[in-house]
Amino acid sequence: MSVISLSPVDLAIAASLVLFIALLQWRMRLGNTQSLLIAGMRTVVQLMLLGLVLKYVFAASNLLWIAMMATVMLLAAGREVMVRQKRRFIGSWGFLLGTSSMFVSAFSVTLLALLVIVQPEPWYLPQYSIPLLGMLLGNTLNGITLGLDNLTRNAWEKSAIIDGRLALGETWTNAISDIRRDSIRVGMIPIINAMSVAGLVSLPGMMTGQILAGTPPMEAVKYQILIMFLIAAGTGMGTITAIVIGCRRLFDDRERLRLDRLR
C-alpha cells in the first residue's frame, strides 16, 4: 500500500478552513487573527523548507549535516521558549535557561534511543534521528515553556508571600517550594494527558502517519509507546532542570528574592 498523494487543491481546501476561522475572529473582533495567520503561514514555509532540506540530508546521511540541522532545531526551540513567556529572565539567561534545559533532556534521550534502543545503522541515520529529535524537542519545549511561565508568573504575583517567608527566616528553597512543585506539575500535564488518552481518545500523530504509510498497526503501536515514554522522560528531565535552575536564579547569594532579574 502506498500513500495517496495530496494535490495542491487538497491543501488549499484545508487552508480555506483556517482562513474562514481567521475571518470569523476578525468579524467578531476576537483579536488574535494576525497570530493565527502568521502561524499558518509559518507552518507552510517551515515545513516546505524542511521537506527540501530533508531530501538532501536523507540522501547524504552525513553526520555533520545532521548535527547542523539539530543545532538549528535546538536554537529555534530555545527562541520559542523565550518569546512565549510573559515574564522572562533578563539578559542571556532568558534564552540560555530554556535552551540548555532542552539540550540536556531532548538530546540525551534521543541519543539513548538511537544508540541503545532503536540502533539504526549508522546510529545517526537521519530517517530516525531527525524525527526523533524533533518530537522530543517539540514536546520538551512545551513542558519547559509552561513550567517556566508558571514559575516566573507566580514568583512575581506571590512575591509578598515569598518575601514574608524569607523574613521569618525560612531558606530560599523552602520559600519557593510550593511554586516550584506546582511549576513542575504544570510542565508535565500535557504529556501525562497525552499518555492517559492515547489510543482511547486520540490516535497519536506519529502512529497515524505510520499506519497511513502502510506499517502494520502493531508495529506502529510499539513505536508509539516507545515515543511516549521517551517524551515523558525528556519532558520531565527538561522541565525539572529548567525549574530547578530557574528557582535558583530568582534568589541571590544572600537568599534574597530578585525579581529585578525578570522583565
Partner: protein
C-alpha cells in the same frame, strides 16, 4: 542576647526611585526600643529590609560580635526578624503558619485558643496584624524590626501589642526598632527616635 550594631548602612534595593538616603549608623542595646519616624516614601521600610538583609545593601551589621556576612542569610533573618506592615499568609489555616501550638502570646494578644483553626480567608486585617506579630515572636528572634505593627489596630489592641513587645524585649534582652507615626505611641514605648527627613537626612533625637 546581643546588641545590634549598624554601620554605614545604605539600601541598594533594585529599581526603586528613592532619593539617596544618608548612610545609617546606629547601636541598639539589648532591651532598648527605638522608634523610627518619617514621611511615607522616605525609606523607613527599605532601611528595615536592608538590616534584615532582604534587599541588597552596602555597609555592615553585627549582632553582638557576629558579623551579618559571617552567617547564612536565612540564619540572620531568623535572628533579626523583620515584620512588614502587611503580612502574607500562604496556608489555609492560621495554625499551619505556626511551628508549634504554644499559644501563650496569642492569648496575650487577645485571642482564644481556637484561633489556630481559623481560616485565613476569614480573618480581618487587624487580626492578621496581631497574628503576624505572634508568628514572628514564636520563632524567638533576637532583634525585632517592626514596620508600623499597630497601623490597623484600635487603641486597646495597640496597647496590648506595645505591652507584649516591651515585655518580650525585656525578657529576652532583645533590641527593637519600631516604625511609628503616632506621637503618643512614640512617647509611650521609647526614649529615642530616629527621624528620616524627606531630603534623606537622618537625625537621632531624645523624646
Amino acid at each position: 542576647m546581643s546588641d545590634l550594631l549598624i554601620k554605614d548602612l545604605r539600601s541598594c534595593a533594585p529599581g526603586l526611585a528613592v532619593k539617596a538616603m544618608e548612610a545609617f549608623d546606629l547601636t541598639l542595646r539589648g532591651t532598648e526600643i527605638v522608634v523610627m519616624n518619617g514621611p511615607s516614601g522616605s525609606g523607613k521600610s527599605l532601611l528595615l529590609r536592608a538590616i534584615a538583609d532582604l534587599d541588597p545593601s552596602s555597609g555592615d551589621v553585627w549582632l553582638g560580635n557576629e558579623a551579618r556576612v559571617s552567617m547564612k542569610a536565612h540564619e540572620w533573618r531568623k535572628r533579626v526578624c523583620y515584620l512588614p506592615t502587611e503580612s502574607a499568609w500562604w496556608f489555609e489555616t492560621v495554625g499551619a503558619h505556626f511551628p508549634n501550638s504554644d499559644i501563650d502570646c496569642l492569648k496575650k494578644l487577645g485571642f482564644d485558643s481556637d484561633v489556630l483553626s481559623w481560616e485565613i480567608s476569614r480573618i480581618s486585617s487587624g487580626e492578621k496584624q496581631r497574628l503576624a506579630l505572634a508568628r514572628c515572636l514564636i520563632r524567638s528572634p533576637e532583634v525585632l524590626l517592626l514596620d508600623e505593627p499597630t497601623a490597623t489596630l484600635d487603641e486597646a489592641r495597640t496597647l496590648l501589642v506595645e505591652e507584649l513587645v516591651a515585655d518580650y524585649s525585656k525578657r529576652r534582652n532583645a533590641p527593637v526598632l519600631w516604625v511609628s507615626h503616632n506621637r503618643k505611641q512614640m512617647e509611650r514605648i521609647s526614649k529615642r527616635v530616629i527621624r528620616i527627613h524627606a531630603d534623606g537626612s537622618i537625625e537621632v533625637a531624645q523624646l
